[in-house]
Symmetry: C2
Subunit: 138 residues, 2 copies
Amino acid sequence: MINTRLAIGIHILAFVECVPEKDSINSEIVSESIGTNAVVVRRMSSALKKAGLLKSVSIKKGLMLAKKPENITLYEILKAVDPSNDLFIVHQKVNPQCTYGHSIVKVIENEFRFLQFELEENLKKKTLHDIMKKVVNN
Amino acid sequence: MINTRLAIGIHILAFVECVPEKDSINSEIVSESIGTNAVVVRRMSSALKKAGLLKSVSIKKGLMLAKKPENITLYEILKAVDPSNDLFIVHQKVNPQCTYGHSIVKVIENEFRFLQFELEENLKKKTLHDIMKKVVNN
DNA sequence: ATTTACTGTAACTATTATTGTTACAGTAAA
DNA sequence: TTTACTGTAACAATAATAGTTACAGTAAAT
């Protein structure tokens, strides 16, 4: 993992939701809050749209959530913005003649799958709404 | 994260433990099983020694575990071999004038700390022995 | 219809992390 | 005092991440 995509995905969605309905939200405005390039935001929001979490109503109004924040989990956001999310990876050049090495790699892979599963369960338990209600906006 | 260090750390320790006592184990032999360079193994085993998980008895005998496999958790191995293990990271260039952005980053950081904590609890529950007993060695 | 404002995406660059490699000083022990 | 190994510095290769420019495509306002 070790990238900022989940954090930026959350930031985009929460920001879009917190802005008053009358105001228009484009990639430029969101990118200024995040402190990145508008294209980075467009890349991410494009992915969030494909995942059914975000939509644009019209050019004027710009971005809006496609689901209620209560129904958007961190898991969905992660899967939307990060295609290749492995928690841990295993070395892949193990000596094929070493039976012990060959077997332990399988065991480690299995253990890593479990750890990833547990992480994903925790990500499924938290929604965008849970995050948003903790934000102090003044 | 997204590196193979935890996997290689586990591989080194398990390999060292599984080799019959009479045999000598040096970095060259371990690296051949893992399929990497001996220096990579020396770097890792140096870190594992500093963490009190591995030791060398003598030049002739080479590497040995410094603790029983039952008492070595995956958490200890990870912390030994991976100095900068962040599960997720947050974008750090948030616009300081955007109060919402400023606040949500704190909330996200807090959430990520929780996720990391939960992962580490799972890593603490699993020992090297748990891994080793699942390995098929024939 | 034409202009305007924006998005989506390709293509490239910059930066950084990870792993592999060479080289060699230091050390234990035969 | 030679031998066998480790620890570590220093550098190279590769790959991932993020930033940037550029532009075709599209919706909608004039």
